[in-house]
Each structure stands twice: as structure tokens, then as C-alpha cells.
Assembly symmetry: C2
Homo-oligomer: 120 residues x 2
């Protein structure tokens, strides 16, 4: 039942696109991630996924539109919907998703795939 300071935790993260676990809620993980550049197109067939911008901003690309997100804004990507985050400048994000979700979803495992989520 310790509190989590998002900025302090984000300062511990070096690598881009590598989510770190900071809290758990029932069967869900609260993760922090620093993102920069282009991710891969993917979807999660069974899980919705929440993105909340802690610092900076990024663009969520969908196949038919783009959504620009700034600090203090969130978006829920519904299960089954293809998406691709893109951050021109580094952006700090809080993620919420069901435990066990792989970051690259249904995309072939590649250099951005993270099989583990270190706790910080």
C-alpha cells in the first residue's frame, strides 16, 4: 500500500519502449514507459489497453485516423483494434492493461517486443 510517484519512477527508466510495472489492480498491471519514435502496428485480440500521457505527447495511429495526445490525456484502445504509437519527442506514458499482455500484441516478435516487465 505504498504510494507511487510517477515522475520518480519514470526517472528510473532508461530504455525506450520498455514498460516497467509500478502497481497492480486485481488482474491488471499499471506500467510506465518512455516512448520515442515509431512503434509497430499491432492489436491485442482479447484486451483493451489504456494510455495516459504523464509528460510530453504522442500520436496514436489507427488504420483510419490519428489521435494526438498531450499531457493529462488518455485513450483506451479497444481489443482487436490495430494501433501504432508514435512520439516525435520522448513521451512518458502510464499504461493499464490485463496482466500478461505482450506489448507488440499480434505482431511478429521483434526488437521492440518485451517479454518481461521489470518491477520498479
Amino acid at each position: 500500500m505504498d504510494k507511487v510517484n510517477l515522475t520518480e519512477k519514470l526517472a528510473l527508466i532508461g530504455e525506450h519502449w520498455k514498460p516497467h510495472l509500478v502497481a497492480e489492480l486485481d488482474g491488471y498491471d499499471v506500467k510506465l514507459v518512455r516512448i520515442k519514435g515509431d512503434f509497430v502496428w499491432h492489436k491485442h485480440d482479447e484486451e483493451d489497453e489504456l494510455f495516459f500521457v504523464v509528460k510530453g505527447g504522442f500520436r496514436m495511429d489507427f488504420r483510419d485516423r490519428q489521435v494526438e495526445l498531450g499531457e493529462g490525456e488518455l485513450i483506451v484502445v479497444p481489443k482487436g483494434v490495430e494501433h501504432k504509437p508514435f512520439a516525435e519527442e520522448e513521451c512518458q506514458v502510464m499504461l493499464l492493461e490485463r496482466r500478461g499482455v505482450i506489448n507488440t500484441g499480434d505482431a511478429p516478435a521483434g526488437e521492440l517486443t518485451r517479454q518481461t516487465t521489470p518491477r520498479i
Copy 2:
């Protein structure tokens, strides 16, 4: 798949201690609430509950300790743990909890109990 700007949504809320729904993730609700003063002691027997401070600060009282939370900080109250939020000055909070949770948990329904969660 619209984004949610927390500050804009919070500006639509008048009443204290009345959560409003802004997004859904699988079977979970993302809610916003403005709090001020003392809530009631309660627990949720089956659900963890996440509190994230968007603006201001508040104190989470547990039976054996108190945790002060400021902007950008979160805490997860595990299922079954008695707690009571207290905000000396108004505080804006994002909540995450399983759909259907009643805000006053196991406490007798009273003037702070909200049976419905309007969507904004």
C-alpha cells in the same frame, strides 16, 4: 476511441464525492471525482481500487497509518482493506475500479453513497 482530457472533464463536475465515468477498459471503469473533506470508512471486499491525483492532494487514512498523496501520485487500495480519503482542500482524482463498485463499499448507504455514475 476518442481521447479524454482529464482537466476538461473535471471542469464539468460540480458536486464533491460524486464519481463520473470517462472511459472503460474491459470490465473496469475509469472515473473522475472531485473530493473535499472527509469521506466514510469503508472497504471493498472483492475489488482493488486505484486513486491517482490529477490536481491537488489528499490523505488516505488506513486503520494503522496515513498516506499523503500529491499530484502525479497514485495508490492502490487492496480489496478488503478499510480506508477513508480526506482532502483538506479540494482535490481532483482519477479512479480505476471494477464496474459496479459502490463508492462507500461495505459502509451503510448514506449521504455520500452514489448508486449511479454519470458518463461525461
